[in-house]
């Protein structure tokens, strides 16, 4: 067997092992216990603190590619809003499918909490224009949004009563895998001090913490772990909590594979007559 063929098969075996371990923990039900971190607790408290006369903007800035992380985050947040009778608006300005995914989640959860579209929540849909749109939107929400996803003028919807400017928004929840939260911070928090919470993917988490540290975002949900922490706070076992054992098993498998790989690497270097290790 040549070096290239061996490498080819070793890589595939590693992937197969990872998929098999993760798959087993997806099938087998294991009860996970979550420790709730301070940023997730602050996220939860920021939602709780929104007064009844204000609306929560759930900015669904994600699409199918990160559904595995942003989906459970959105679901936990919408569940919390329904439980606490908080009005909310689903909105998106980065990825067009985002508000559609948010709407699907809200419609699935609504019957359980006896909630109705238009009265308890509204969907503004996707709006193009980026930072310039956000600047204009803050000053005139009904004027810039116009109609909801079903073509109804938003001023006719009970959920939008009394909502005119950013002063009527109690919280902005940015759920996104992209670097769109700086736009909220620059043009909304920076000017109006409207509270922002940030639900990011695991990849983006290290970039989220400088904002949290500087109090520019009130709370952070970090990937699937953040969603599981939020579910713990809601005393509910949803998608995120169910997936955490598989996540932990996959991490343990990766650590083990790294250790095995390094032991083999050191052994192959120490072997008499061994040349440069592969990949060097």
């Amino acid at each position: 067997m040549t070096q290239t063929t061996r490498q080819f098969w070793v890589r595939r075996i590693v992937w197969a092992v990872l998929i098999a371990i993760t798959g087993v923990f997806v099938i087998v039900k294991v009860n996970a216990t979550m420790y709730v971190s301070r940023p997730a607790l602050d996220f939860y408290r920021a939602v709780e603190a929104v007064p009844k006369d204000k609306i929560i903007v759930i900015s669904c800035e994600w699409e199918a590619g990160t559904r595995g992380e942003n989906g459970p985050q959105t679901e936990a947040l919408i569940r919390h809003c329904f439980e606490q009778d908080k009005r909310f608006a689903i909105f998106g300005w980065t990825y067009p499918p985002g508000p559609t995914f948010g709407q699907q989640i809200a419609e699935r959860l609504a019957p359980r909490y006896h909630k109705r579209y238009g009265r308890d929540w509204v969907n503004w849909g996707y709006k193009a224009g980026g930072a310039i749109f956000i600047r204009a939107w803050a000053k005139n929400i009904p004027g810039k949004i116009g109609r909801d996803i079903y073509g109804t003028p938003i001023t006719r919807l009970p959920a939008m009563q009394g909502i005119c400017t950013i002063r009527d928004v109690g919280l902005i929840a940015s759920i996104t895998p992209s670097a769109s939260v700086p736009v909220w911070i620059r043009y909304i928090y920076g000017f109006y001090r409207t509270k922002i919470v940030y639900a990011c993917t695991g990849v983006m988490a290290p970039e989220a913490f400088p904002y949290y540290d500087a109090h520019q975002v009130a709370g952070v949900l970090k990937g699937l772990t953040g969603a599981a922490e939020y579910e713990t706070l809601l005393r509910y076992r949803g998608d995120a909590m169910r997936r955490m054992p598989a996540q932990s098993a996959a991490h343990a498998a990766i650590i083990l594979l790294i250790v095995i790989g390094n032991v083999i690497y050191i052994y192959s270097r120490r072997r008499p007559g061994a040349g440069s290790p592969p990949g060097r």
Binding site: W15, T22, V26, G68, R186, G202, P206, A214, Q247
Partner: protein, 227 residues
């Protein structure tokens, strides 16, 4: 031949209740498996589905631009509401394409210049409202005598900040042993940060894999119980 075998297995699976009956779930499952087939090796099925996705995304992008931007924001005000001045938006947009003509390319520079100025203005606002608060919050108390764990955090933060910033002193040679040592520590701390970022990336990618596996094993392959 393999396609026929797949169809037979699929039909038998649906009839016996092993696979889902929903067509949408089947399409999603086939797409997922086709994309994951790259894990074995480059193949025709992966290529086909990759091109389908690219085509769909492009088509969807064009649809969104027409229905969300051009039609409601430009065409309707211009034609239906009689706001004639929106014609200047068309002129400005057309100026970008003058780059292809040597004689008219100055118009392109004009349009690009306007947008660069606008971006720079927004950038200045961004610096003040985004980065200045972060700078001010980097001044943390190192001694409060009330909450020791916060002090430890602040000391770690302070040491990391100074060490990493000293690593980025590239304007002069780092001969001073204090600066040199601090820069070396900064380099190590950066490595730790990169490790943390990579760990988070792995965590994120595994979450996406779990989502797909859960879909395949629980929704498509219903033998393991529907969600």
């Amino acid at each position: 031949m393999s396609l026929a075998a797949f169809a037979v297995v699929a039909y038998a699976g649906v009839q016996s209740g092993i696979f889902a009956k929903d067509l949408g779930i089947w399409i999603a499952a086939i797409c997922t498996l086709a994309m994951y087939s790259i894990l074995y090796r480059e193949n025709v099925v992966f290529r086909l589905f990759e091109h389908i996705f690219i085509g769909l995304a492009t088509g969807y992008g064009i649809y969104v631009v027409i229905t969300q931007v051009l039609w409601p924001k430009w065409w309707t005000p211009l034609v239906e509401q009689g706001k004639w001045y929106w014609v200047f938006a068309l002129l400005m947009g057309t100026m970008f394409y003058t780059v292809y003509s040597k004689r008219l390319s100055w118009m392109n520079r004009l349009a690009v210049g306007i947008f660069m100025g606008m971006s720079a203005g927004l950038g200045v606002v961004g610096f003040i409202t985004e980065l200045v608060p972060q700078l001010s919050y980097s001044f943390k108390p190192l001694w409060t005598s009330t909450r020791p764990y916060i002090e430890v955090n602040n000391v770690v933060f302070f040491v990391t900040l100074i060490a990493v910033m000293s690593y980025f002193f590239f304007s002069f040679e780092q001969r001073n042993p204090v600066v040199k040592g601090s820069a070396r520590l900064g380099r190590w701390l950066l490595m730790v940060a990169f490790g943390a970022i990579f760990g988070n990336t792995v965590m994120g990618r595994m979450s996406l894999l779990i989502d797909r596996l859960e879909f395949l094993l629980r929704q498509w392959l219903q033998v393991f119980g529907r969600q």
